[in-house]
């Protein structure tokens, strides 16, 4: 046993002391950190302001577009102001208002099916402001910001840094000097206007007072109201429809991907058109607006939760989706370490160190030593990941990335961590057995790769099925794969949050352990026989024959 420990210590230090290992370890939190931080920074610093020129020949829409722009800007002010005030709130008050586990349970559920990067804070703020025009209206008031500051000043730390309002991203620019002077804008044809502005759109000429190029040109025709499309209009064929669309408002831009501005303009014009329709039909737009913002209270409940707390919270939703992250980590962790095992075994075999080892320790001791050493590497990697994950999340948690705090709470409270550890070690034992056997039969890494081709296809299954199983944790795919011991660790990790039936949990667990022990026994036999083999890896039947012979001998 002592020798196993010496071998384990060497395996551990050889793998855990490499630069590659630490790069790999730190890569995960770094990617997580960057994937949250970079878009934020880009949004804040790198995203250029979008200057556009509006030619409203109808004269009916420039005001509403201006209001929409201002409202859009004030929304970003409000968001930043909220973040600023909660950042500089006195710590003791912050503790009071910090979301407790109970608060988290009561937060409204969000839909994460589109991905985990949804900025909950932003999404919630939009929802809040859409529902409550008064708050935005207050802040849109010229003194609104000051009033807000006064209201919160008692809660803030002394002398907080001054609030820096965000940049304006969408800016309506004046006509470039001299560009349109030769035209009578009220009557000029759209072709002439576009032709006059094209050099600016193509960045051949720049607009005054701006380093950024002209982002877009919006042209609203004089007969804009005749171009309004109504549900009762006779439907047009595709060609005619395209022609009809051209006659309406035109949005010219070389950037086809950033749709913020085009959407804002379109929405503002549509809203105004709709408002005028109401007036035309003798309906009071105010009343309509109130009616439109009227809705029924709606909540989702989970019958599995404790009585009185069945309402589905944000934490619940995160808890349902967190296992996918865990499955992915599990997969990466297991295959990173078993690959180390494979490479080390092939290395020892190819340079014949194995023979010296065999003169000092039994094959079983060598195998145990390798398994323990590499398991230690895996454990270090996971502890590293989780510590850094919690570190990054804790650092991030706050008003800007609200879900980070919730996720920390979910990770700590959900009981997924012990399960993760359990499934890591059982998965590790099964796959370590397979990889060790492959390693012991191959003389070079290249030979091992030939085996790996087939193995990789089998190993990809947990990744391919990860999302389907999370969506339908009790479906036939999930149940079937649960009983395939090779996949049990991944599938059960994925199903863990959905309270799988006890029979599946315990039964597949037992099967998995039996499989793990069988794999270790089996690979110890192959290892014994394989490590001293030279030449081509054996054919399958040859392998079985040799196993039988070696069994007789011992």
């Amino acid at each position: 046993m002592n020798n196993s420990l010496h071998i384990a210590a060497r395996e551990y230090s050889e793998n855990a002391r490499t630069k590659g290992f630490w790069v790999n370890l730190l890569m995960f939190p770094a990617i997580l950190f960057l994937s949250i931080k970079v878009p934020q920074l880009l949004e804040e610093k790198a995203k250029p302001s979008r200057h556009f020129v509006l030619v409203d020949q109808s004269g009916a829409f420039s005001d509403v577009i201006d209001v929409a722009l201002e409202r859009d800007y004030q929304l970003s002010v409000v968001k930043k102001l909220m973040e600023w005030q909660s950042k500089y709130t006195k710590p003791e008050l912050l503790a009071e208002s910090a979301p407790s586990a109970e608060d988290l349970e009561n937060m409204p559920a969000m839909d994460f099916s589109g991905g985990m990067t949804t900025n909950i804070s932003g999404a919630m703020m939009d929802q809040l402001l859409d529902d409550n025009d008064e708050l935005l209206s207050l802040l849109m008031h010229p003194d609104g910001q000051e009033m807000f500051m006064q209201a919160v000043s008692g809660r803030l730390i002394e002398n907080p840094p001054a609030f820096e309002p965000p940049r304006r991203f969408l800016v309506r620019a004046p006509f470039p000097e001299g560009a349109l002077d030769h035209l009578d804008l009220l009557t000029a044809s759209r072709e002439d206007i576009v032709a006059a502005m094209k050099p600016y759109l193509l960045d051949e000429k720049s607009i005054v007072n701006s380093e950024d190029p002209l982002f877009a040109l919006v042209v609203i025709p004089p007969d804009a109201f005749e171009q309004v499309k109504r549900p009762m209009d006779i439907p047009l064929g595709p060609v005619a429809a395209a022609e009809a669309a051209k006659a309406g408002v035109q949005f010219w831009s070389t950037n086809l991907t950033d749709t913020d501005l085009s959407k804002l303009v379109e929405r503002a014009i549509d809203k105004e058109v709709q408002r005028l329709e109401y007036v035309d039909k003798d309906l009071d737009p105010e009343v309509i607006s109130i009616v439109q913002r009227t809705n029924m209270q709606f909540a989702t409940f989970d019958p599995k939760k404790k009585e009185g707390q069945e309402i589905v919270s944000m934490a619940d939703t995160l808890r349902k989706w967190a296992p996918i992250g865990f499955v992915y980590l599990l997969w990466v962790a297991i295959f990173t370490v078993v690959n180390m095992l494979l490479n080390n075994t092939v290395e020892e075999k190819s340079n014949r160190i194995i023979e010296v080892l065999l003169s000092s320790a039994t094959p079983w001791e060598i195998m145990c030593g390798k398994l323990i050493g590499i398991a230690g590497v895996g454990l270090t990697m996971m502890v590293g990941w989780f510590v850094s994950l919690l570190g990054v999340l804790t650092y991030m948690a706050g008003p800007e990335v609200e879900w980070a705090g919730v996720l920390i709470d979910v990770i700590k409270s959900s009981g997924l961590l012990p399960l993760f550890a359990l499934y890591f070690f059982s998965g590790y034992m099964i796959y370590a057995g397979i990889f060790l056997a492959i390693g012991s039969l191959c003389n070079t890494v290249k030979e091992a790769q030939n085996f790996m081709g087939t193995a990789t296809i089998i190993l990809m299954v947990p990744l391919f099925t990860m999302v389907f199983i999370a969506q339908d944790p009790h479906g036939s795919l999930a149940t079937f794969l649960t009983w395939v011991p090779l996949y049990t660790p991944f599938v059960m990790m994925n199903r863990a949050a959905a309270d799988p039936p006890m029979f599946d949990l315990v039964g597949s667990g037992i099967l998995m352990f039996v499989m793990a022990i069988f794999m270790l026994w089996f690979s110890s036999r192959i290892f014994r026989m394989g490590v001293l083999r030279t030449g081509q890896p054996p054919k399958f039947m040859e392998l079985i024959r040799s196993l039988k012979t070696s069994q007789k001998e011992q």
């Binding site: 002592n2 020798n3 010496h6 071998i7 060497r10 050889e14 490499t18 290395e347 190819s350 340079n351 014949r352 160190i353 023979e355 010296v356 080892l357 065999l358 003169s359 000092s360 320790a361 039994t362 001293l532 012979t549 001998e553 011992q554």
Partner: protein
């Protein structure tokens, strides 16, 4: 465990078969403690398999063995050192680390193993490379490190499989010194080699294996005695006179060397000195009398020459 035995190794009819192929066939051997034993034989003769069976790396198909009185080498592994035929080390480890690691596997404690590693590297001229990674060492240095790794725990019994292969002449000399040093310190050494001159210089006894079977086992002198003594004489008119002399087994005219040149094969017990004296006494006027004591190389070719050729073709 009976360690009062005078033998480091005892093999009784050990045989190793892989399917239909017999790698080693019924070899009996005793290696006395304190001796230097050379395993000689052509490629593929079964030397390495025999060594692996001694070390309990592979199990014999038939026969029994004892190593330092124990039924398997694994029981006394702390007292055994082993250098395999193909040399390799952990490239990413430091020179001292490799030596200390293998010493620890042989039961030394960590501190002592480290101190011993530095001491050995210093003694055999690698002191300045002790903290270098193995991958930065030259091939010869790497081999030295491996040799030191196999003997760092001061084993009583050391097995070296082809210790001289790949070494330049000066390092071969160092290797010979290492073997002699260990033997002086009381260790029993078994080594296999193709290079007869090394075996001849340092072995007390040799085992010759060919085609999986033992061909010879004994001291160097006994090995040389296996070959008939042949004397080359010149200036003799009549070959028949030679064949009547005492101690002469047969006489052959050696073609191509000219008239009066003969090759005299002597009887086992006869002495070339006596033959010379007898020639003079019987009035033969010799112009030349040449006797070369056979080398181990001659013995090797004599005993396993055909097998060696067969093996090299195989």
């Amino acid at each position: 465990m009976n360690d009062t035995t005078p033998y480091a190794v005892e093999l009784h009819g050990i045989t190793k078969r892989y399917g239909d192929f017999t790698a080693v066939k019924s070899i009996d051997l005793v290696v006395p403690k304190g001796s230097i034993y050379g395993f000689l034989g052509p490629n593929g003769a079964g030397k390495t398999t025999t060594i692996r069976m001694i070390l309990d790396i592979v199990k014999p198909t038939e026969g029994s063995l004892a190593v330092l009185g124990a039924p398997t080498a694994m029981d006394v592994r702390e007292r055994i050192g082993y250098l395999p035929e193909e040399k390799g080390l952990y490239k990413k480890m430091k020179a001292w680390g490799v030596i200390a690691y293998f010493a620890k596997l042989k039961g030394m404690n960590g501190k002592a193993a480290k101190a011993r590693a530095y001491e050995l590297l210093e003694r055999y001229g690698l002191g300045e490379f002790a903290d270098k990674k193995v991958e930065t060492l030259s091939k010869g240095m790497g081999q030295k490190v491996q040799v030191l790794a196999s003997i760092a725990h001061s084993p009583e019994f050391v097995i070296l499989d082809e210790p001289f292969s790949g070494l330049d002449p000066s390092n071969q000399q160092v290797m010979e010194d290492v073997i002699k040093d260990m033997n002086d310190a009381g260790s029993t050494i078994v080594f296999s080699t193709h290079v007869m001159s090394h075996a001849e210089r340092i072995c007390d006894r040799i085992l010759l294996i060919a085609s999986a079977e033992k061909v010879f086992d004994g001291t160097i002198d006994e090995a040389k005695a296996v070959i008939p003594k042949i004397v080359h004489v010149e200036g003799v008119d009549d070959g028949n006179k030679l064949s009547t002399l005492p101690g002469v087994d047969s006489v052959r005219h050696s073609d191509g060397d000219g008239i009066g040149c003969f090759e005299v094969t002597m009887k086992d017990s006869a002495n070339p000195q006596d033959l010379m004296r007898n020639c003079f006494q019987s009035g033969l006027e010799l112009t030349a009398f040449q006797y070369h004591e056979p080398t181990l190389h001659d013995v090797f070719l004599h005993l396993v020459g055909d097998d060696a050729k067969v093996a090299s073709v195989r």
